[in-house]
């Protein structure tokens, strides 16, 4: 065996607290180590060339790079090996920066620890074997779940880019919440006409199949070849798709869980959504007194909703603005904690609403008391520092967005995570906001948190592009770290079958042993740990490798 060890200074990062020279000298004495070198930046081009040269000249068959965490530069170092005609799985990364140099300032202790880490890597690298990454075909077809503005946008984009699209909507009609809105801020266009334009754009396309009144009963498989079972009005239907965009929207907050608001007990207390839909039929006096309450169902720890719903301030402004337009002599008072009119044009709209005569009182209303003559609002004007009790004819609650009612069901079906507020969790809130932890499953719109219509549409488009990028390649690499069964040792107890969450373990009734369906295995190792007969191993992570790695940490040196 010919091993090359390359120890990185990472500029000052590692060198500052680890004696790298001492390490490279130390490992030179090992019989299987052909090259042991330290270098200022192993990841730099000269650094990469140094590795390539050593592989070619010395005929290395194992490469150990002691540097930063393995998740950084992993694919790049693998490529270095590939280019030198060495199987990339013969590479071993050892983290002496995050796990060592950055932890403490004691050079002697750090050097000692780094020595142990590298030694463990050296011992276990002896068990590395060349592995082949498999290439699997990807089905150029996408599932879009949810027919609101996000889902519609995603479907339109995917279809235009040439993907076969299956759009699934649980309700009988496409369009989601936007369809019910009389006017969508800022342009004020009717929500129904917005979604109907989108639906028309979609319906004319050959590569789009729309399922309404349809739910998803099963979703399994792996990226590129997911099997979907739908429950349609015509019966069960099965599809194969490469990936999916989930755009299942939100649920409007139900204010009846806050008893001090008396919502649902008095018809003079309504939500912004109800105002929007029924503003023509509201029975108001000539000079109506209307109170608008901000932040109902948002920014409230008592109901477990700490987040700001982002759209309700503008909704509240819309209500006040419309009232002033329709009832010149109305008294409209908006009770707010902060006015967050953040979208483009929002602050101007706020000013316009003030100019029209809507009064803004900084108060989170204490309680609402309905009486026969009017609805009394009790609160404190926090800027005057005085409490008040005022009577109104109508109270409009500006409700926030709650997670969609199906969030748990859909999250379970697609095996994706929910965040603390039960919205779908992004793979990374800044860097991968459309991705989930499952490859090929993207999220769009309000199902990952409150968004306005514009953001939801853009979110749908962005997810469509992300999914297109993956599917259009036409193939995917499958990690070679998959489990395999030694049928001679397998007792057929099937415990591994229960442990596996990707349905990769299949039981052979005749032979009474299990085998692994390679395409479905995700390489998590749960079956290995579960097997009482040690009959299952994970390729690239066999038991002796781990035993030897532990020896590297512990044996006397």
């Amino acid at each position: 065996m010919k091993t090359g060890i390359f120890i990185c200074h990472c500029g000052h990062n590692i060198k500052h607290t680890v004696d790298v020279k001492k390490l490279s000298e130390y490992f030179k004495t090992f019989p299987n180590v052909t090259v042991s070198q330290d270098y200022v930046f192993v990841c730099s081009e000269p650094g990469q060339d140094m590795i390539k040269d050593a592989i070619e000249k010395e005929g290395l068959d194992r490469v150990i790079i002691a540097s930063c965490t393995p998740s950084l530069h992993g694919p790049m170092f693998k490529d270095v090996l590939r280019k030198s005609n060495l199987n990339p799985f013969l590479l071993r990364r050892v983290s002496i920066r995050e796990h060592c140099a950055w932890v403490g300032n004691d050079v002697e202790a750090n050097t000692e620890k780094a020595k142990r880490l590298i030694l463990a890597g050296l011992y276990s690298s002896a068990h590395h074997v060349p592995l082949e990454e498999k290439i699997v075909d990807v089905k150029k077809s996408a599932l879009v779940v949810g027919g609101g503005v996000s889902g519609l946008s995603a479907a339109i984009f995917l279809s235009k880019m040439g993907m076969q699209v299956h759009l699934v909507e649980k309700k009988s009609e496409l369009g989601g919440h936007v369809r019910t809105l009389k006017g969508v801020w800022p342009a004020g266009r009717d929500g129904k006409s917005i979604v109907e334009d989108m639906v028309r754009e979609l319906e004319g396309r050959e590569n789009v199949e729309i399922f309404t009144s349809t739910t998803i009963t099963n979703f399994e498989g792996f990226f590129g070849n997911y099997e979907v079972t739908l429950n349609t009005p015509q019966g069960e239907k099965k599809l194969t798709v490469g990936g999916a965009v989930l755009a299942i929207g939100f649920s409007p907050f139900d204010p009846s869980i806050k008893p001090e608001l008396h919502y649902g007990k008095d018809e003079r207390i309504i939500t912004t959504l109800e105002f929007e839909n029924n503003s023509n039929t509201l029975q108001l006096p000539e000079k109506p007194r209307v109170a608008i309450l901000h932040c109902v169902g948002s920014r409230d720890e008592q109901i477990g909703k700490v987040y700001c719903s982002r759209v309700c301030c503008v909704n509240a402004l819309r209500v006040g603005n419309a009232l002033k337009d329709n009832y010149k002599d109305s008294y409209v008072e908006s009770f707010y904690m902060d006015v967050r009119a953040h979208p483009k044009g929002g602050e101007e709209f706020f000013e316009d609403t003030q100019e029209k005569g809507v009064l803004f009182t900084r108060a989170n209303v204490g309680e609402i008391v309905p009486t026969p003559t009017g609805v009394i609002i009790r609160g404190e004007d926090t800027l005057f520092g005085e409490t008040f009790e005022r009577e109104f004819d109508l109270v409009v609650l500006s409700i926030g967005m709650s997670s969609p009612e199906d969030c748990k069901l859909i999250a379970n079906t697609f095996k994706i995570a929910l965040d603390k507020d039960n919205f779908f969790m992004e793979a990374h809130i800044k860097l991968r906001p459309f991705d989930t932890a499952v490859k090929g499953i993207f999220i769009a719109g309000t199902c990952s948190g409150p968004k306005d219509v514009e953001e939801s549409i853009n979110h749908g488009r962005a997810s469509a592009v992300k999914l297109f990028g993956l599917l259009n390649l036409g193939y995917t690499y499958v990690d070679p770290f998959i489990s395999y069964v030694d049928p001679k040792r397998c007792s057929g107890c099937r415990m591994c079958e229960h442990a596996c969450f990707s349905n990769a373990i299949k039981y052979d009734e005749e032979k009474r042993v299990v085998h692994v369906e390679e395409a479905a295995c995700m390489g998590c190792g749960l079956c290995n740990a579960t097997c009482p007969s040690s009959a299952i191993s994970l390729r690239g992570y066999i038991d002796p490798m781990i035993d030897d790695e532990i020896s590297g940490f512990t044996e006397a040196i």
């Binding site: 008893p259 001090e260 008396h262 932040c295 920014r299 409230d300 720890e301 008592q302 904690m337 900084r362 108060a363 989170n364 209303v365 204490g366 309680e367 008391v369 309905p370 009486t371 009790r378 609160g379 404190e380 004007d381 926090t382 520092g385 005085e386 409490t387 008040f388």
Partner: protein, 364 residues
Amino acid sequence: MLTQASHKALVCIQCGKCTGSCPESGKTLFNIRMLVRKKQFQAVVEESLPWYCTSCGACTIRCPRDVKPSEIIIEMRSALIENGSVPLALQKALENTFVQKNPWGRSRNKRAAWTEKLDFEVPHISATESKRLLFVCCIQAYDPRCMVIPVNVAKILNKGGIEFGILGEEEACCGNEIRRVGEFGLFEELQEENIANFKEYGVKEIIALSPHCMNVLKKEYGDLGIKVSHYTELLAPMIKEGSIVPKGSYNKKVIYHDPCFLGKQNGVFDQPREILKSVEGLDFLEFSRSRENSMCCEGGGGRMFFEVETMYQRNAEVRAQEAVDKGAEVIATSCPFCVMTLEDPATEKGILVRELSEILTEVL
């Protein structure tokens, strides 16, 4: 238990939900939001202010940032007590509680005197099989107006075949009010004494007669593995199942006042209503502010023991007036504090205040 981190003043956003919910803010100089603001900046607080709080809990229940303003008040009071800046009457009540384990200063060995009014013996908890303890409460053990409550409840339970015992003179004040006036040291002493007794006699279940006792035993004594409930929680199902049957009728219009410590702080809204509605002839009425939004009677938070500085219209008076306006003949409630605060204005306006057990006893 009692830690400095029982509140989160720093995360307050000064929204005013607390002040808008507070039964004292507005009509007095007390502004709970302003006091939280002062706490954030460690600013000087005028000494009379923290004593207005009735510890009804509305601010803490509704605060959107879970700041727990009522806990901040307790901390402020505690600091005042350390400096000796205590209303005189309160100081007396604290001394009494220290010596006789009740704020009235009545002799400790008279604590079970109310049992003399019964025609049966109430056993000491140690002599019971069920180890079910009736926790009587200082007010109900000594106050001539409220002494009838334990007598009634004991009779009802006895009729319903429920075995129970008492601690008698060994029962110490529960400390709910003592903690709320900020006397943490004394509270801990009372708590230790009661817990030691619960343990010694193997108490398995506690039936509290006062919502204030129930609150502290349930939430602030730590996990004792003892089931704590208010007596109405026990009686309501018994009436439903038929083990207690109200026979007579009570032909009066009765309006029910939710005690803060029973209702909004512990969620017992339905049982007292079920009990009242089970009585034949009783015409049941509701206040405009009821259940979670019930208006505090201002008896809690130590306010039973001293007067605050500002003169203003009492909430009890507002309550009594609404009862009269709605045509009620009786205000029913289930808390000795509420009975005592409501009775004066109600009597003035010519209507009655009755604790639930009093109505129930009349019809059994």
